[in-house]
């Protein structure tokens, strides 16, 4: 009897462990099965490189959205990575222990704030600020723009960058620092020429993780990016991301339009899988 119970629970634990495999397979099947037919019907090349998104005329090109996602992600990286990395350096090498006990939970709180609250903050603070600053230079814009979205996402990826980079910096043996100081290097020089390069792959992993967060962010971006499906190179103009495209139109879409939106999700999903792959490669390299 006892043996039976042991074996039964062993089986139960084992089956539970399979859930994550099952979930990933199921997600892949349902996304691809619903998205790929639309890609075929529209034509993969037309779908990916088409510059026009006009569901009313059955024209579905998601190039503007792909570029929109990439622009905003790039902007978030440009803003978030330097600040995040320097903050991580502060947390690892400069912060007094007492202050650390206060600031560390703060970075975790930054990660915990819901994206909808970030979006609201962006909508009432960052967008008007961008509009006001542009107004000073004589540009009359709404403020909902690539720039506003980049700033907001730059803030939102800070906790990811800080957390992963700090862990990587702390994993570098202290003897590296001591060696550098013994050779006559200053505190700063020892940190920036020895410790940071030694933590490189960990920091890179953090950046990749941040890219994943930024490209997948939805609600916050919708509230500040303007959401016009167009090709633009101007930082001060609005743009639509892939994530926004799905949420904005899914509510009323039918037929091919709906399938094209799911196909947009498939493209996003493939991007994310590639980013995940890059992340795990970097992580492995760090461990090796």
């Amino acid at each position: 009897m006892k043996n039976f119970r042991e074996n039964l629970m062993h089986m139960v634990f084992f089956l539970c462990a399979l859930t994550s495999i099952f979930a990933v397979v199921l997600i892949c099947i349902f996304l691809f099965a619903n998205g790929v037919p639309a890609m075929k019907e529209i034509g993969l090349l037309d779908f990916l490189t088409g510059a026009k998104w006009k569901p009313g005329n059955d024209i579905y090109g998601i190039l503007p959205m792909i570029l929109g996602s990439l622009y905003i992600t790039a902007g978030a990286i440009v803003i978030g990575v330097p600040i995040g990395l320097l903050t991580a350096v502060f947390m690892a090498f400069y912060c007094p222990k007492k202050l650390y006990g206060l600031l560390k939970p703060c970075t975790e709180l930054l990660a915990g704030i819901p994206s909808i609250v970030y979006g609201f903050f962006g909508m009432v603070i960052i967008v008007p600020a961008v509009r006001a600053v542009a107004g000073v230079f004589g540009a009359d814009i709404s403020g909902s723009s690539i720039l506003a979205a980049s700033i907001l996402l730059g803030i939102m990826i800070l906790p990811t960058i800080i957390g992963v980079s700090e862990a990587a910096l702390r994993a570098v043996p202290m003897s590296y620092y001591e060696g550098a100081v013994a050779m006559g290097a200053r505190h700063e020089r020892a940190i920036f020429t020895v410790m940071v390069p030694a933590a490189k792959s960990g920091v890179l992993a953090g950046i990749v993780l941040g890219i994943g967060r930024a490209i997948g962010e939805t609600m916050a971006v919708i509230m500040v990016a303007g959401n016009q499906p167009r090709l633009t190179g101007s930082m001060l103009k609005g743009i639509r991301t892939m994530t926004a495209n799905i949420v904005l139109e899914m509510g009323y879409a039918t037929g091919l339009h709906r399938e094209a939106l799911i196909a947009t999700g498939v493209v996003l999903f493939v991007f994310i899988l590639l980013i995940n792959l890059a992340f795990s490669v970097l992580k492995r390299r760090k461990e090796a």
Binding site: T87, L109, S115, T243
Partner: protein, 293 residues
Amino acid sequence: MTREAVSAAKPAVRVQAKTGKVHGAASAAVLKGLVYGAAMLTFAVLLFLLGYILVTGIPHLKPSLFQWNYTSENVSMMPAILTTVETTALALLLAVPLGLFTAVYLNEYAKRGNKLVNVIRITTETLSGIPSIVYGLFGMLFFVTRLHWGYSLLAGAMTLAIMILPLIMRTAEEALMAVPDSYREGSFGLGAGRLRTIFRIVLPAAGPGILSGVILGIGRIVGETAALIFTAGTMAQIPGLFQSGRTLAIHMYVLSGEALHMNEANATAVVLLLVVLLMNTLSALAAKKLTKK
């Protein structure tokens, strides 16, 4: 040399800076300024964000916002609060046992170097990287359309359960790993079987760590929007299992899209923030309890 010693050693390094080359001293000062500046900027942004939301939102927290019924004149958040509680409970009901048992299997049963374990880890990592909108799409295609549940509380909760599964699993696994092997050996030595050891010895010892992960999961559910719009829908009512309902975060999204209700959206943001703050604090307390033991 410990890290505290590094901080203490800084004055000495600074003395050395004075005697060094001017160029080196200048660049060191610039770097130091950048480090301090970036850290201050990060925490100033956080403070400003929290301060702004709380200061502008709290005056709009009127008792009428907590009335039982939502009407277009009084956009009460009470139905949304109850929907959030229901969704959270349902999602945890599925995600906690699954995540916990997976962690038990990985940590207590699986042999090291098992191929399957690697696959499980990779898929879990993949799950944790998938953005919530993709979960939302999947939930819509599978639960809402394929299983014919419609926009419903159940569809939303199931989607969220899959979403927080990796989080629950990882924290539970870390908590289990932190339980010393001597506990297990002692239990086996006294003649307890594997199952009894797990449920009587290992899980209680790992309890606070597991709890800390569960609370983090609650925080994510409460703040989630994109995964819920097309699974649970946006109806402002207290839903049954197969009815649509909006959680607080969705409520806030809908309100902030209507220019009329900015103040109410702001008040909802306050409630959301307070819940998240509370969850973070509880989670940290639970984690602390674990390390103290």
